[in-house]
């Protein structure tokens, strides 16, 4: 039992925190809310120089070859800094499916360019039905050799507005089938959605869009299962970092804000909220890392699946409790846009919903309990 980080992870975490404090301050997060693209190519390039996009990519394909637990450490920092842009879309939605299901040619073609920051990817999984399961994939595909033709609408696709390629989940007579689809083609229409986190989620309409097969026809869901597991834990890790920072900001504020002639942090009503926040943040962190550890260390499939579902079920709600306390502690300025705490509140909801909210994962836990 060792709940600490190893030396490499400590280095990664410290380097990421220092880098993001300098390069991704609050002002940058705000700027990107208004930006059409929603990310800074300069920051994107700096992240690639540090090997972040290629963290999980094996060295033979130009990556760093770290494991999923290491990525979890980095994602916690990314959540803490609310880093805007297509990092998770590209790494979890692009690199991971290609590592899991891509041909050698596809790995050679795409992975080095993902690692170098040249290519932005995203995963087009959900549809207007807003389901994260296999039955939710209804977008139509026809396969001819290595070519796939797609028709349908994918919804809540993150960063499709800036993606070079999308990994699209579609359905043929043989079942769920994946395709790598270039965005820049006549059959693809991308429309940005207005969301409360002001992130760049999109509607993607495919009309005879062309792509290349990723994995075998009908084998798409088997490839997606580990992708979804990792993406789910990645969102949980993002939430842990986000909630940790929201909590720290709130405690600092409680120490400084004076009402009735004393810091509000001296009132037990506020102290007890802070105590609940830290308990929730710590609980979230360890159950998330447990799931990441299951993935990274190759624990039995049933244990890993349960750990992933438990992590997202818990963090989805515990971090919502944390940011709600954060708002309450801040009082009136909490709901003004001038102050930073609301940035966390709005983004928590995005990640809470991504890859299944607590209800979704609780149902899966119940099924695995045999009830």
């Amino acid at each position: 039992m060792d709940l600490g980080l190893n030396e490499q992870q400590e280095l990664l975490k410290n380097a990421a925190r220092e880098f993001l404090e300098n390069e991704c301050p609050e002002s940058h997060v705000r700027e990107m809310e208004e930006d059409e693209r929603g990310y800074s190519p300069v920051l994107w390039g700096q992240m690639a120089e540090q090997g972040w996009q290629g963290l999980l990519i094996p060295e033979q394909y130009g990556g760093v070859g770290f494991d999923f637990l290491d990525l979890t450490v980095l994602l916690e920092e990314i959540g803490r800094a609310l880093v805007p842009g297509p990092y998770m879309s590209t790494v979890l939605g692009g690199a991971v499916p290609i590592i899991e299901g891509g041909s050698e040619d596809q790995k050679n073609e795409f992975l080095p360019k993902i690692a170098s920051g040249e290519l932005i990817f995203t995963l087009a999984l959900t549809e207007p039905s807003a389901r994260f399961d296999e039955q939710g994939v209804q977008c139509a595909a026809t396969v001819s050799g290595n070519d796939v033709t797609l028709n349908g609408t994918k919804l809540f696709v993150s960063d499709a507005n800036v993606a070079d390629y999308m990994v699209v989940a579609a359905r043929t007579g043989k079942g769920v089938t994946l395709a790598i689809v270039a965005k820049d083609q006549p059959g693809v229409t991308v429309t940005q959605l207005q969301t409360i986190a002001r992130d760049k989620q999109c509607e993607v309409v495919l009309k005879d869009a062309k792509g290349q097969l990723l994995g075998a026809e009908g084998a798409g869901w088997a490839i997606l299962e580990p992708v979804i597991q990792k993406y789910t834990v990645a969102e949980a890790a993002y939430l842990v970092g986000l909630a940790q920072m929201d909590f720290e900001i709130s405690v600092d504020y409680a120490k400084e804000r004076v009402q009735f002639g004393r810091p509000i942090g001296s009132f037990q009503a506020i102290q007890h909220k802070c105590a609940d926040m830290v308990t929730d943040v710590d609980g979230s962190r360890f159950i998330t890392y447990k799931a990441a550890w299951c993935i990274a260390s190759g624990q039995p499939a049933a244990d890993t699946q349960m750990a992933v579902n438990m992590a997202k079920a818990w963090t989805s709600e515990s971090t919502r409790r944390v940011v709600a306390h954060g708002q309450q502690i801040h009082g009136g300025i909490g709901f003004t846009k001038d102050y930073k705490i609301q940035l966390f509140y709005r983004r928590q909801k995005r990640a809470e919903l991504a890859f299944g909210d607590a209800d979704h994962h609780r149902e899966l836990v119940a099924q695995q309990l045999g009830i």
Binding site: M1, D2, G265, H272, G283, I287, M310, A313
Partner: protein, 391 residues
């Protein structure tokens, strides 16, 4: 990061499980949960288990070898807590091992150490701690029980309450006021009191779930030699505040919760109607299961940090807070799942799960009070841990 235990820890866990299987009656944990154990049987099993633990050197597992222990590591101690709680093991070292022994080791005289510690480790003496008073609940330092020096003796008068295990204790470690001047914290001493000393009366308290482990202890001019004081006069409060280095994971609550949820999950699998009639209870069960896993992590973090030489205080309070509130949620979930029949007490032919959850529901009220209320835990987390200002 590693969520498994070392081979030595796993070996210990297996040895302990085998020990418990051998020492406890086969259906012990089930019957004890159901309240289907007579007082005499409870005491008999308690005595036998305690003797057997002493025989293996496990009674004082965490103590240093020089005091009769095995010098077990913090994680190993937590495993011991986890497994014995899961099996609802009666007996064990109690307050003697958990608090009195460490206090005597740290502050007691050589003579006290030689006289008392081997007998605790051998299971020959049981101890209770005599600290809390009716008028000084969470405000422990406001205690009024007095120990007045009279020649070579202290004369003790007053009353302590919510004392665990007083009926069977040979000795109690009493915290009493030896100086009424100055701040309340500055006038407290700790004194060893033989429970059979003239003037000591133990009055068991009737508690909600009908258990009789708690007592009130009354002192009427009880005389003990001054050599019975542990440590320095009037330093007792600060001695008590010095956290012992024993594990503080609070994992026992999590382990008990796990056993209870497993019982409910099994009941729900066996009887479809439980969830069929009450689908939201199904999600509650799933939530409790998830919370138990969160709890194990939060608890095991504490011995993990201790093993690294740290003194996790905030973390220990988080674990206590979390575990005690989980205990109540589990009890509520049990009652929710069992529906109308949940209120039927053991003995009723209409009770489900033999009415055991009705008792668990009553017992659980103590979880967020005993050992420091949830409000005190939150205060300590906020003030000592997060550095928020005290009023």
């Amino acid at each position: 990061m590693e969520f498994t235990f070392t081979p030595e820890e796993e070996r210990f866990r297996h040895e302990l499980r085998a020990f418990l299987a051998a020492q406890l009656p086969a259906d012990w944990s089930e019957r004890d949960f159901l309240g289907d154990v007579s007082r005499d049987e409870q005491r008999g099993v308690d005595d036998a288990v305690t003797r057997a633990l002493a025989g293996k050197g496990w009674l004082a597992l965490p103590w240093a070898k020089q005091y009769g222990g095995l010098g077990a590591g913090h994680v190993q101690q937590a495993i011991y807590t986890e497994e014995t709680a899961y099996m609802r093991m009666p007996g064990g070292g109690g307050a003697g091992v958990a608090s009195v022994g460490p206090s005597i080791q740290r502050f007691g005289s050589r003579a006290q150490q030689e006289q008392y510690l081997p007998r605790i480790a051998a299971g020959l003496d049981r101890w209770c701690t005599l600290t809390v008073e009716d008028d000084a609940g969470s405000d422990v330092a406001a205690m009024q029980t007095r120990a007045v020096r009279d020649g070579d003796e202290y004369v003790i008068s007053g009353a302590k309450t919510w004392v665990s295990g007083a009926e069977r204790a040979t000795y109690g470690l009493l915290a009493a006021r030896t100086d009424a001047k100055g701040a309340p914290q500055d006038g407290i001493s700790t004194i060893i009191v033989p429970m059979d000393a003239p003037g000591v009366t133990v009055r068991p308290l009737d508690t909600l779930a009908g258990e009789r482990d708690l007592s009130e202890v009354i002192f009427e001019d009880v005389r003990v030699p001054v050599q019975h004081m542990v440590g320095r006069e009037n330093a007792g409060w600060y001695q008590m505040q010095t956290a012992s280095d024993l594990e503080r994971s609070g994992v026992g609550a999590i382990s008990t919760a796990k056993a209870n949820i497993e019982r409910l999950v099994e009941a729900a699998r066996d009887d479809d109607s439980l969830i069929g009639r009450n689908p939201s209870a199904r999600y509650e069960l799933a939530d409790r299961w998830i919370e138990i896993q969160v709890g194990f992590n939060v608890s095991y973090r504490v011995p993990h940090l201790q093993a690294q030489g740290q003194q996790p205080d905030q973390e220990a309070h988080e674990a206590k807070l979390y575990g005690s509130e989980l205990t109540q949620r589990v009890a509520n979930t049990g009652m929710h799942l069992l529906g109308l029949a949940a209120q039927a007490a053991p003995g009723s032919r209409y009770a489900k799960l033999a009415g055991a959850f009705s008792q668990e529901y009553l017992r659980a009220t103590a979880a967020t009070v005993a050992g420091g209320t949830s409000e005190i835990q939150r205060n300590l987390i906020a003030q000592r841990g997060l550095g928020l200002p005290r009023d």
